[in-house]
């Protein structure tokens, strides 16, 4: 089973990102479960979205305590209880303009992959809407869902700017892809 936690702040689209990710995996024939948990409906407060993906129906009805991957919309959230769900093998994709070396130093022992979601969003005319770029980055890091499935899901399901969001997703995917190639070289 693949277990992913997306953490953002209310209004950033972390909950929708979880839905889109689950929808894309489902489109590839996988069994999925995605749920969000939040307190009061306020902008700016932390929002978690939990995604489970498996080849058999998912029965667990509890939080993810040890994640295979984290997608963090805001580097300031990468601490405490959320960071505690990551182990040495967990892939952490974080929305940040800082280089990988910064996180290697700041969070030793973690596999952190930064991606500048804001820059990608602005380049694609999406303002501060970073979730599509970050989903592309996560899909590349995790190895699924396929980029074509994810962009098709995003184009079909996003409330507006489907084409721009799909383009941002491709850009996010590419950034992590080149980062991983560089690290492997």
């Amino acid at each position: 089973m693949l277990q992913i936690i997306i953490q953002g702040r209310g209004g950033q689209g972390a909950q929708l990102a979880g839905t889109l990710l689950a929808t894309a995996f489902f489109a590839e024939g996988r069994e999925v479960q995605s749920f969000s948990s939040y307190g009061g409906a306020r902008r700016g407060t932390p929002v978690s979205s939990f995604i489970r993906v498996d080849d058999k129906p998912i029965r667990l009805r509890c939080d993810i305590e040890q994640a295979d991957a984290l997608l963090c919309f805001d580097a300031s959230l990468l601490e405490g209880k959320f960071l505690a769900t990551a182990g040495p093998r967990t892939l952490i994709v974080v929305n940040s303009r800082r280089p990988p070396e910064h996180f290697a130093q700041a969070l030793p022992g973690y596999r952190t992959l930064p991606v500048d979601g804001l820059e990608i969003a602005q380049r694609n005319g999406l303002g501060r809407i970073v979730n599509s770029a970050l989903l592309g980055a996560l899909a590349c890091a995790v190895g699924g869902p396929a980029l074509a499935t994810l962009t098709a899901t995003i184009a079909a399901e996003t409330p507006k700017n489907g084409r721009e969001n799909a383009a941002a997703c491709v850009d996010g995917y590419g950034r992590i892809d080149s980062q991983l190639r560089k690290a492997a070289a």
Binding site: V32, R59, R61
Partner: protein
């Protein structure tokens, strides 16, 4: 919609809304409350798009919602509503009234902590505190079970003339997006024909409800309500069997999971049963003969089924995601009552697990189960 079943991704809340739509209710009074709001959001979208021919009422409170549900139901309309937590609390007075009026209303309740303090987490104290109101209560584990249970609930409600409340846990079911089979309308129409009660309020007919009664009339009415309640286990089991024959999905009024030869059985309600299945598998793998008994029908408590399921079992561990101060876990208390006087009754231990929405993992349940076999039995529930 096509004739075949479609499988799509739905949250528990949206699955409830689909179930309600397929049941073709005529009146839907609603008031929004987190985490139930998506139920009525989707229902009103259905109505706006012409997919649901029902009258929607949006009064100023949940008390008024139930006050609208009762006369609509007594007028012969099929009535659906949904609420959660504080909304259910505010309805309390009229919950008694609805069952007394023998109004077969179906209501979905999303189980959420009750204030104070203010919170939004999964906890079943809200609905379990309504156990004496004369409503049939069912607890579901998944979005699919939620959809199916809405339809079964109408069958049960209209067969015995009692209101039915189906309960789904906040977030773990209400906001969990997962694959759900949506049955075709024609299948549902065959399963659940239009509501056509023998008695209903109509100025042309001269029937009435709500007169002041004598002591004996009141006593006889309560007795008759009890007799209707007593029929529910059989009616609910039959409604479930018919649903299974049509769709291949049956849920039982209780479900035994890997209970063959089990000497330790975990008993719980709602979403925690899903996690407990993983714990049971892990325990079995470790050589411990564990099983799960899921209680789907909680009111009336199917005592005969529970006694049969637990006959010969040595240890029972009840997991309660609720807290009744001064009594402990509600299911723990109820199960001990159901097993009282049973020859060779199992040792029943109660754990307050997940109260306030605290996370309960499969590993934690397995650990509690291992502990239950060695610790002394105490009458009180223990905090996990």
């Amino acid at each position: 919609m096509s004739a075949a079943e479609t499988r799509s991704l739905l949250t528990g809340n949206h699955a409830v809304a689909w179930g309600a739509r397929l049941a073709r209710p005529k009146v839907v009074p609603v008031y929004p409350i987190t985490p139930q709001t998506p139920v009525l959001e989707l229902l009103t979208e259905f109505q706006a798009a012409g997919g649901l021919d029902a009258e929607f009422l949006t009064p100023e409170s949940e008390h008024s919602v139930m006050a609208a549900c009762i006369p609509a139901s007594l007028a012969g309309a099929r009535v659906f509503t949904a609420t959660a937590s504080q909304g259910l609390m505010l309805m309390h007075e009229l919950l008694h009234y609805a069952s007394g009026a023998r109004a077969p209303i179906v209501m979905a309740n999303v189980n959420r902590t009750v204030a104070s303090p203010w919170a939004f987490w999964p906890d079943q104290t809200d609905s379990l505190a309504q156990r004496d109101t004369g409503w049939v209560q069912l607890y579901v584990e998944s979005a699919q079970e939620a959809l199916d249970t809405v339809l079964q609930a109408f069958r049960i409600a209209e067969a015995v003339s009692l209101p039915v409340m189906l309960n789904l846990d906040a977030f773990y079911v209400s906001h969990a997006l997962e694959p759900v089979h949506v049955p075709p309308q024609a299948l549902v129409d065959a399963y659940l024909p239009a509501y056509a009660p023998e008695h209903f309020l109509d100025p042309e007919r001269g029937e009435s409800w709500g007169n002041v009664v004598t002591q004996d009339m009141y006593r006889r009415h309560r007795k008759s309500l009890g007799e209707a309640m007593a029929r529910v286990p059989e009616v609910a089991a039959e409604a479930d069997r018919e649903w299974q024959a049509l769709t291949g999905r049956g849920w039982g009024i209780t479900e035994r999971y890997r209970c063959e030869g089990a000497d330790l059985v975990i008993v719980s309600l709602g979403s925690m049963c899903g996690t407990a299945r993983e714990a049971v598998d892990a325990l079995r793998e470790a050589g411990i003969a564990a099983g799960l008994l899921k209680v789907r029908l909680f009111r009336p408590l199917p005592a005969a089924e529970l006694r049969a399921a637990l006959a010969g079992v040595r240890d029972v561990l009840v997991l309660d995601r609720n807290f009744s101060p001064g009594a402990g876990g509600v299911l723990h208390q109820e199960l001990r009552g159901a097993l009282y006087g049973m020859k060779h009754a199992p040792d029943v231990r109660g754990v307050l697990a997940g109260v306030g929405g605290v996370n309960v993992s499969a590993a934690m349940i397995a650990e509690l189960a291992r502990g239950a076999r060695i610790e002394d039995i105490v009458p009180e529930a223990v905090w996990a």
